[in-house]
């Protein structure tokens, strides 16, 4: 196991009878990395997560979490990994702090440490004011934040978040993603699963696209963009000057120039050609009004990928399993 990877999965497989929910997937997650498992419902994301935590049996293959085998050493794994399930639930009759106290006791923290950790964690997710309110009164966003507080309190080295943003309004989503980014700055690795692509794109370092139990694509978002969308970079320019289009076309790496409006051009290139394009405009004494590069969107990648390779019919077993 290499020094800076915290999760290593190798040929991980889960069968439910004849149906295969997760089909020989392999991936690694590095220390301090935010790794996204993306894909439609029923693609095997949650099953993968449960296998990593030792909460469901592994049919084939193996996974190492922080060097531990979740099948043989589940307690060591679960002591170091924080997990927030899809639509996390708490005991409604207890207060937020009491819910965390129960978890802290299960982990085995002593009283003084427990109270300090709970206060810190609730403060960091912005729930300090409602620490002594019963969870029954909490909104969905607050429950999700309480789930993150639990992981913070645990002092986990890996945070596994299953659909952390589903069902949240945009404001709550932004707050939640901010907390997730804060994990990264502390060196906590984050593995999150989602079917909401655009929201996840902004936080993930690398993503794996799931489809029917397999990892269809894996890498950083720009890498996937180049692999799937082909053209690589798209640079938009708004400037005036005659013959600009012709001169821009001569920049090495530019494969095409397209007029998108009056004084507006779009360059297709295999690298980021913004510096050269700006230099050309200035050299022609043109006035540069706008220069921007389009980031490939996960949504486009996803749509294009499954357009090009029609989705295999997902069998019922795998769908139920998710």
């Amino acid at each position: 196991m290499s020094q800076d990877s915290v999760i290593e999965a190798e040929g991980l497989t889960k069968n439910y009878g004849p149906a295969t929910a997760v089909d020989h997937i392999s991936f690694t997650v590095g220390r301090g990395e935010i790794f996204g498992l993306l894909g439609p419902n029923g693609a095997g994301k949650t099953t993968t997560i449960l296998m990593m935590l030792g909460l469901t049996d592994i049919s084939e293959g193996q996974v190492r979490v922080l060097g531990f085998d979740p099948v043989r050493e589940p307690l060591s794994v679960k002591r170091r990994v924080g997990y927030m399930p899809d639509t996390v639930g708490f005991y409604d009759n207890l207060t937020a702090a009491d819910n965390l106290r129960y978890t802290a006791r299960l982990i085995g923290f002593r009283f003084a440490e427990r109270e300090k950790r709970i206060a810190d964690a609730l403060g960091r997710v912005g729930l300090a004011d409602v620490a002594d309110k019963r969870v029954a009164t909490f909104s969905r966003g607050m429950r999700q934040r309480l789930g993150l507080a639990e992981i913070l309190m645990k002092g986990a080295q890996i945070a596994i978040l299953d659909e952390p943003t589903s069902g949240l309004d945009p404001h709550a989503t932004v707050e939640l993603l901010d907390i997730i980014r804060a994990f990264k700055t502390e060196g906590v690795s984050v593995l999150l699963s989602s079917h909401l692509l655009e929201r996840v794109q902004s936080v993930c370092d690398r993503v794996a696209l799931f489809s029917a139990g397999k990892i269809a694509l894996m890498g950083t978002v720009p890498e996937l963009g180049r692999a799937v969308l082909g053209g690589g970079y798209v640079v938009d320019i708004e400037a005036d000057g005659t013959g600009l289009a012709e001169r821009l076309a001569l920049i090495p790496g530019v494969s095409g120039v397209e007029k998108t409006g009056i004084g507006k051009l779009r360059l297709h290139s295999d690298r980021d050609v913004r510096p050269e394009a700006a230099a050309e405009v200035v050299a022609m004494h043109g006035r540069l009004k706008f220069l921007g590069v389009q980031e490939p969107s996960l949504e486009a990648i996803y749509a294009r990928y499954f357009e090009a390779k029609p989705e295999e019919p997902v069998n019922e077993g795998a769908r139920d399993a998710a």
Binding site: T46, L50, L53, L55, T56, V71, R72, E73, P74, L75, S76, K78, R79, V81, G82, Y83, M84, P85, T87, V88, G89, F90, Y91, D92, N93, Y102, T103, R105, L106, I107, G108, G147, E150
Partner: protein, 320 residues
């Protein structure tokens, strides 16, 4: 393959949390008041009856438990009826409640095994029932002292204490059954209905069915019938079948413990009565020996039901 660590780490934490949930829940308060009020009513009836009739009885104190006065059944009859209800009330949503609150996977992702969660829940339920039953027992002893005015002897206290322990075991059987169904059924309502249905079947319908089934399998001998006697084979089979129900076992133990003159549970042949002084009480140890198979049977069925639930729970998927 050896698992790391102890299966019981976190057991105490789970148990204390569940216990505090039980003791503060509205459900438990309702059940407790129900039991206390019913017990008081039965006790009052028994005391009136005792005052009216009995003048000399070496085991007057034990009569508190077993005497009934119309229209109320005796205290023991009430207990055998209400204890299963309490146990089912505490256990029917133990595991499926965690599923429906979506807390199960979060709790199991903490460094504990499923063993601790299930066993902690069972122990917490059993402790809650024990607390209630001990309180009730003390209440009965206290009121009995006040109302009858004759202090109970050591033998009577010992007998009623063993009766208390047996009642806790009996509660454990129903708690294990409720826990099993809370694992098998994802919906708490289904689990509650099935458990209550089974309780009704085993307690009220099974004794009748056992008689009918025994008569079909071993038809009564007309020679015995002509004499107005039960055919031995039929009676024995009926008893074997009836003893499949924990309610029957409990009733038999209660008879042996609280009525010291009980010499056997089941059919007695005349030859066995030779030399017996009828109506003379047996010592406590002898009474316990008579009921020992029944007591062991109840303990065994509680353990068996728990183990079945445990195995199912270990193999169950945690996701909702």
């Amino acid at each position: 393959m050896q698992r790391e660590g102890s299966a019981f780490s976190g057991l105490g934490v789970v148990m204390l949390k569940e216990l505090s949930d039980h003791l503060t829940s509205v459900r438990m308060r309702v059940l407790e008041w129900l039991v206390v009020l019913v017990a008081l009513a039965a006790l009052y009836g028994a005391i009136q009856q005792i005052k009216d009739t009995t003048a000399e009885d070496p085991f007057l104190f034990l009569r508190l438990f077993t005497t009934s006065r119309d229209p109320l059944p005796s205290f023991v009859a009430f207990l055998s009826f209400l204890v299963p209800l309490m146990a089912i009330g505490l256990g029917f949503d133990a595991v499926n409640g965690e599923h429906s609150r979506r807390t199960l996977s979060r709790i199991l992702s903490q460094p504990i095994y499923r063993d601790a969660l299930l066993f902690g829940k069972f122990l917490a339920g059993l402790m809650t029932l024990s607390i209630s039953l001990i309180t009730l027992w003390l209440l009965v002893v206290g009121i009995g002292l006040l109302m009858i005015g004759i202090p109970p002897g050591a033998e009577e206290i010992a007998r009623s204490f063993v009766f208390l322990l047996v009642t806790i075991v009996y509660a454990g059987v129903w708690l294990a059954l409720a826990l099993l169904f809370s694992i098998l059924f994802r919906s708490a309502a289904t689990a509650a209905l099935v458990t209550l249905g089974l309780w009704l079947l085993l307690t009220f319908i099974w004794p009748v069915l056992a008689g009918a089934a025994a008569q079909i399998i071993v038809p009564p001998d007309p020679r015995y019938m002509a004499l107005g006697l039960q055919t031995p084979g039929t009676a024995e089979l009926e008893q074997i079948l009836a003893r499949l129900s924990p309610s029957t076992l409990f009733a038999e133990v209660v008879v042996a413990l609280l009525d010291p003159t009980t010499r056997a549970l089941g059919p007695i042949y005349l030859s066995q009565l030779q030399g017996a002084v009828l109506g003379s009480p047996l010592p406590l140890v002898e009474s316990i020996l008579i009921a020992w198979p029944q007591i062991v049977g109840m303990v065994a069925s509680a353990i068996m039901l728990f183990v079945i639930g445990y195995v199912v729970f270990q193999r169950q998927e945690v996701r909702a």
